[in-house]
Amino acid sequence: MPENPTSVRLDVQLGRLRLANPIMVASGTFGYAREMAGLVNLKRLGGIVPKTITQQPRAGNPPQRTVETAAGMLNSIGLDNDGVEAFIARQLPYLAALGPAVIVSIAGKSSEEFVQLAQRLQEADGIDAVELNVSCPNVSGGTDFGADPSLCERVVASVRRACSYPVLAKLTPNVTNVAEIARAAEAAGADALSLVNTCLGMAVDWRRRRPVLGNVLGGLSGPAIKPIALRIVYQVAQAVKIPLVGIGGIASIDDAMEFFVAGASAVQIGTANFYDPTATMRILDALPDALAELGARSVKEVVGTIGK
């Protein structure tokens, strides 16, 4: 029986992290949120993952940094950011005052750098969780931690020890067996897993006989990768007990519901923020009705119900 949409509970629990609703925005697709304030009612979001920060400022990769592909895009931004100190001083106060959970995405070149970042963030106010970007395909060594189960386990465990925040590990789809990496992150104490980062790809300008992107390779995102992301969420849901956050081509309420049913407890909207800046608001508007249509009284009741 359909439930009354107004009585549907939207809050979700990702390990120690509680979200008012399961609609988040993905790192690198929403700037530091302030940029979107003119178009989006930021307070309504369940969680905000600002653009990944590193210990030192990074200029990022040379242009051309993005190129559109069929139903998607490739990017090789290369973690262009002003570093953790600038983030804490200039971006965090605004983010912290908004209301939604602030999940700070961090990337380090070594396990020690991840730890130092976590320790520095521990001293700051207004952070609800950290997301470990162990899966960026656009920086040298960026995917190493996410491609090797023992390295992934070590970095997650080290960050868990280094800070008191809930820890999400964002994994790469560019491995043979994501479930193996997911189990390692779970064993190391990750609160939840974000699935997935971009799929490694390439674009070629055949007339000039050269790659289109300045960094040669890039990460594919957008509707084109949704089936891959859904498959990985479905597979990992069978392999681990911790909650999953679905990411990959989500642009509509149907996309979001597919991820919930496949096993995701929350979702992150990514590339859609670029081409449809109010996509998150529309998905939030439609969520209670969609859950009620399945007879659910909460998000949790539909998570991982595929085949049941």
Binding site: E35, Q64, E68, G222, Y275
Partner: protein
Amino acid sequence: MSTPTYADHAWHGPVTVDENVCIARDTYRIRFACGEIARRVLPGQFIMLRLAECNDPLLGRPLAVYDVSADADGKPHYLDVVYLVVGKMTRLLAETPAGARLESWGPLGNGFPPTPAEHLVMVAGGIGQTPFLMLAREYSGQRTYGDPPRKVPPSKKITLCYGARGSEFLACVEDFRRVGVDVQLSTDDGSLGHHGLVTELIAPVVERSQWPCRLVCCGPEPMMESTARIARELDLPCQVSLESPMACGIGVCFSCVKKIRDSSGNWDYRRTCVEGPVFDAADVEF
């Protein structure tokens, strides 16, 4: 980050095509009603335009606003965008009939600053004339733009140096002439005007001028680089309106970066969409 780097005054929503006409080879002018953008837009600002509910092409495209026209009550209401067919999205856009729905967001970017210019020399290559019609109207004192409307001291003379591959690609020339702009043309194939590069027209215009000149430039990157060099040699102020591949137009994707020098001479990647597209030519690392 300062406030001008946020798209706080952008509007986002569906728009309906009013007309979409071919005005030169591979070149179209599309018109749609959007009072929200029309009353705010400044010369040199742009909008994102996207085929509604379409996954391929997926992203919006940044396009300069060419003109704003009023409704029956005299309020800014229609937006005109002039575009060249260069790829999949613009090919489909050219086939879009009146009545079709598009998605748009804007106005975006900084636009041209209201710096006084006794003789404004606009240098355009390819489809780079499109940001200049509104600028010419503004500097001729015929129109004001923005909300509230901004004031610009009128120029004594406005020249458009405009080059294209061949005469069949030259679009909008009569619109500029109607504003009273002195139009100087060039073509790569010599089919009309100066046979050669548009940048070769700049020095003669400046030398003949009775007034101090200010250059503004929009076009292919080598042409803007060349104009920047000429401006430096002639010691003239010059601004360029850059075009770089862009996914969002609102500062969140970090795609559209260009090396821009600061006062100490060090460069950093700046976003063309929110920190540009108009930069001082002397600051751009071409």
